[in-house]
Amino acid sequence: MIRTLSFGEAVNLALQHEMEQDPDVFCFGVDVPDHKRTFGSGVGLVEKFGRRRYFGSPLSEAGVAGVAIGAAMSGLRPVHIHARADFVLLCMNQLVNMASNKSYLSGGKLSVPLVVRAVIGRSWGQGAQHSKSMHGVFAHFPGLKVVLPSTPQDGYALLRAAIRDDNPVIFLEHRWLYDVRGEVDDEVRGALGTAAVCRTGSDVTIAACSWMTVEALQAARILAGAGVETEVIDVRSVAPLDGETIFASVRRTGRLVIADYDWTFCGFSAELAAQATEHCFSALRAAPVRLGFAAVPCPTTRPLETLFYPSAREIVGAVERLLGLPPIDLTGEVFNEYERRFKGPF
């Protein structure tokens, strides 16, 4: 069945379908059954499945992550939900020292079919402790899978694939995405570890993560008006990384802009730039360009926040420099439009 849903509704539908089809799937986390239901993504699930399968946890992220791992090792499929990815830092001992190595250290006898859903990204002054993404940090550790959907369709299909996967999966949802609407086909089966070519073009490849895919598509539209055809690739899965889809594009275009949603230093953009250079060196006509957060903690006030985060504007600028183009007239373009849709406080 195909329907038009917001990203939040698509995530909700994925949870609903998984919980209907598998009694071993349950969701929990700090305050998840409250009236806000994690930006609406949990609407109706308490009512439909009860507090046995959708319940709030004590304010104990670290220990509760371990409880989720133990439940997963016992055959259940927990979804541990965090309203901010920053809180997942409290769970790092469990995710890194325990979950990531259970299969390896048991010679494949044990598995941890766990999904950690965490909300990332900007909105309305979230500041230094409510805004991180950290997909590069998670992906650094062998044994964790890291997924960042950017469309309602992927929110649905990749979340279902993450819940079906027998390994720990970190599933990062950008806050602005909850308002994005799109077609969702519930017959589509997602595959972790695959990138998506969102737009084809021959002049430059833009590889984007999470919300930056939305920004990249806006930039691509602006650039197309100036006669520049960009290929936009949604990375979707940082670990495992579908390098081949990205490298095949770079070999055609010879130019790569990496629009990441994280700090660039030691971040995923550095990894992808290194891999693209290793794999596509002779095809590259210029050094890969990386865009990411400013190298400071995230500031709260709006003007500094706007400077901190990259947007379509910075992507357009990067492509102009890469191709040696004169600046495109951006009069009339609206940037950070979704910023206005989100009203606080949370």
């Binding site: 104990s60 670290a62 220990g63 509760v64 371990g66 133990g70 325990m98 299969s103 010679g107 494949g108």
Partner: protein, 318 residues
Amino acid sequence: MESDALDVYRKLILIRRCQERIIAEYPQDEIKTPVHLGIGLEGVSVGVAHRLPLGTKSFGQLRNHGQYLALTGETDAYFLELYGKIGGTSDGKAGSMHLCAPGAGLLSTSGIVAATIPLAVGAGLAAKYRGSDAIAVAMFGDAAIEEGEYWDAFNFACLHGLRVLFVCEDNDLSIHTFGRDRRGFRSIAGAMRGWDCHVFEGDGTDVRMVLDVTGQALAAMSRDPKPAFTVFRWFRFLEHVGPNTDFHIGYRSAPSEAERLALDPVHRYEQWLLAHGVERTLLARIRSAIDDQIDRSVAAAKAAPYPDGRHLTEHLFR
């Protein structure tokens, strides 16, 4: 003497002799993994494991050899793992600190001491979720209580009325630091009494008391579904990690011969068996059979091949 009492002896001896064998072999530097031995802890390892229903999910920490041996009774995969060879519990990739035996219910042991406690609570949650009355077991040293994850997990288990058996192996030492220098509470059992759980204490050097207290804890959980916290005192005869004693360092003094015997769970149980009419020759035969088993396992482990490049990348994901 009933066979159950001799079975307890067999398990105590299995653990003691395996550890003594490691001590003897360690200087050859073929066992290349840090060993946290539990000479003195055998009474707790055996007393708890012996009482568990078959298939109980157990979790432990790095001083795990007694728990592993008491639950599995096997020494082949055990020594292969310690020697880092193919056929070990994890083909050598786990080593001493991460021994596991899912087939015997031992799902995970950890070098981060409190980290498996939440996992045990997760196993307890899974049991309740499925309407099963199965219990889960977390075994840990007294210093694990100082980790936040302990309290996270303990609170969660009490809140949800989970049948999780918490077993605190209290040797009053966190590596080299005594409890008085680490704890802001007066007693371990006392600190747990304010929570919605059953609390028991016992002498871990007396395996019969551990059996009894563990039986009481299991009965209490069965009657009234909530966690049971048990704490057993024991004496660590060896250094924190490694095959040697550490009394010469000076932070603690060596027990006298009489104290040593009184703190040794194997000796205590042996004396009790002899006092109750068990023939010395029968005990000698049990020890000899176990020594033969260990000889065979160690010889096989030494002869076995090491893992290679294929094993390096195997089993990262399922």
